[in-house]
């Protein structure tokens, strides 16, 4: 079994049942997990910011940095391995915030809203979501089963 590690502003996809896709230390960033149970194709995106209009050159170089460019790319990359949109299950975690989250530090909240809006616009349901609050999260996707596990810093691993 090998772990595919998703860095910050990064996407990993797989159709290998032996793989586990992992991302560590999500703070206000969000990890989006998709899985097609029939094709057994899945992937994970770890995006940093909500909106690519901030820096379009950067978004071109690395679409996985932003929600609006990363989420479509995650789906397209999975299609190439045989996944189909109508079968894909979506789960998401992250988007934490620092305390008394006021106007300027609310990037976690903005990341959550951006993601929900994109899925809503595209008629995709988010099956499970563990977002907000103020701790770090690690996400694991088991390719053999499609199960997603979350661990918050210092806590136990649990299924999402």
């Amino acid at each position: 079994m090998s772990d595919l590690i998703v860095g910050i502003s990064d996407i990993k996809v797989s159709n290998n049942a032996n793989d586990v896709i992992v991302t560590y230390a999500l703070g206000s960033c969000i990890g989006v997990v998709v899985y097609d149970p029939l094709a057994k194709v899945g992937g994970m995106l770890h995006y940093m910011l909500p909106d690519s209009t901030l820096d379009q050159n950067k978004a071109k170089d690395n679409p996985a940095m932003f929600a609006d460019t990363g989420i479509p790319l995650l789906f397209k990359t999975c299609y190439k391995l045989g996944a189909e949109k109508k079968r894909m299950l979506v789960k998401a975690a992250g988007g934490a915030s620092i305390l008394d989250d006021t106007n300027y530090f609310r990037i976690g909240q903005k990341n959550i809203m951006a993601m929900r809006k994109i899925f809503w616009k595209n008629n995709v349901m988010i099956e499970k979501e563990d977002t907000g609050l103020n701790f770090n999260r690690t996400i694991r996707l088991e390719m053999s089963t499609g199960k997603v596990f979350i661990r918050s810093s210092g806590g136990e691993m649990r299924e999402l």
Binding site: I8, G27, S28, L54, K58, A96, S97, D101, N136, G154
Partner: protein
């Protein structure tokens, strides 16, 4: 002995901070310093020497010349980068064991510290138009208190977590309530024991609450604060304390920053981190 006294006493067990950075700073101020003179001061500390050579060719320091000796480093890195490399090497020694109690991995605290140091320069440039090596050192050391606090935080974790999760108390406040001192204040005391100047000590002591330092004109604690919050948000070296720190909104007004500026700094930081892998890998 009370826990706080035990903690304060253990400061004295930390080895003295290498004087190399200070000595080089003094030498570089002389109009007629020689490269050999500076190189000899650096070579006096073999661990610093080895680490500078590991870092010297990182893209972050941007030398166009291949650097393979300390003499090359003195000639080609430029004064500010040379000092940064010396301080990075000096601080790294104390972070090798990490801060168990706060972090899963020994390298987490170092990764976080380097990220905050790099971010402090991005924010400084945005606010003041220039980088600042003293600020860089303060940012690198901002969490130094954690190297001692770690084991005490581990013991007290159930109580600290209960306060943080149920009462919306920040992690530093919970440390203070449960243990009697917080990691920022303790870090300031370690910096004092190492004879760092007041501006570095204050930037460390007040890095979670720069608004409590009654010196409006001081920008250093504020910049370290913003850089730290940004790196916590990005999960660079995320620990048990997570994001449980207070947002001080007035910082944006104070420096005329917008949310977009913070987001843009984050984008720039991910680039800088890619160019500074050698700085992270020295421990």
């Amino acid at each position: 002995m009370k826990t706080v006294d035990r903690i304060l006493k253990s400061i004295n067990t930390i080895p003295a901070f290498p004087a190399t950075g200070n000595k080089v700073t003094q030498l570089l101020k002389k109009p007629d310093y020689s490269v050999t003179e500076v190189a000899n001061v650096i070579k006096f500390d073999p661990s610093i020497t080895a680490n500078i050579l590991k870092m010297a060719n990182s893209t972050y320091f941007g030398s166009r010349q291949r650097i393979s000796t300390i003499n090359d480093a003195v000639v080609y890195l430029g004064q500010q980068n040379l000092l940064r490399a010396i301080q990075t090497a000096g601080v790294s020694k104390y972070y090798k064991k990490g801060a168990q109690g706060y972090y899963d991995k020994v390298t987490d605290l170092w990764e976080h510290s380097v990220a905050v140091a790099l971010m402090s320069q991005i924010i400084s440039k945005k606010i003041t138009g220039q980088e600042d090596t003293v600020l860089y050192t303060a940012a690198l050391l901002h969490d130094v208190g954690k190297i001692i606090m770690g084991e005490f935080v581990r013991e007290a974790l159930p109580k600290i977590s209960a306060l943080v999760s149920t009462q919306r108390v920040s992690f530093v406040e919970a440390e203070e309530i449960v243990i009697g001192i917080n990691h920022a204040e303790l870090g300031g005391k370690i910096a004092a024991y190492w004879n760092f100047p007041a501006e570095i000590r204050e930037a460390i002591s007040f890095h979670h609450r720069p608004d409590l330092l009654q010196k409006e004109e001081k920008t250093m604690p504020w910049i370290v604060y913003i850089a730290d919050q940004a790196c916590l948000m990005l999960g660079f070296g995320g620990g048990i304390d997570g994001l449980s720190y207070r947002a001080i909104d007035q910082v944006f007004k104070k420096f005329n920053l917008r949310m977009k500026d913070l987001e843009m700094s984050m984008v720039m930081l991910t680039d800088d981190l890619n160019h500074a892998r050698e700085l992270i890998s020295i421990i």
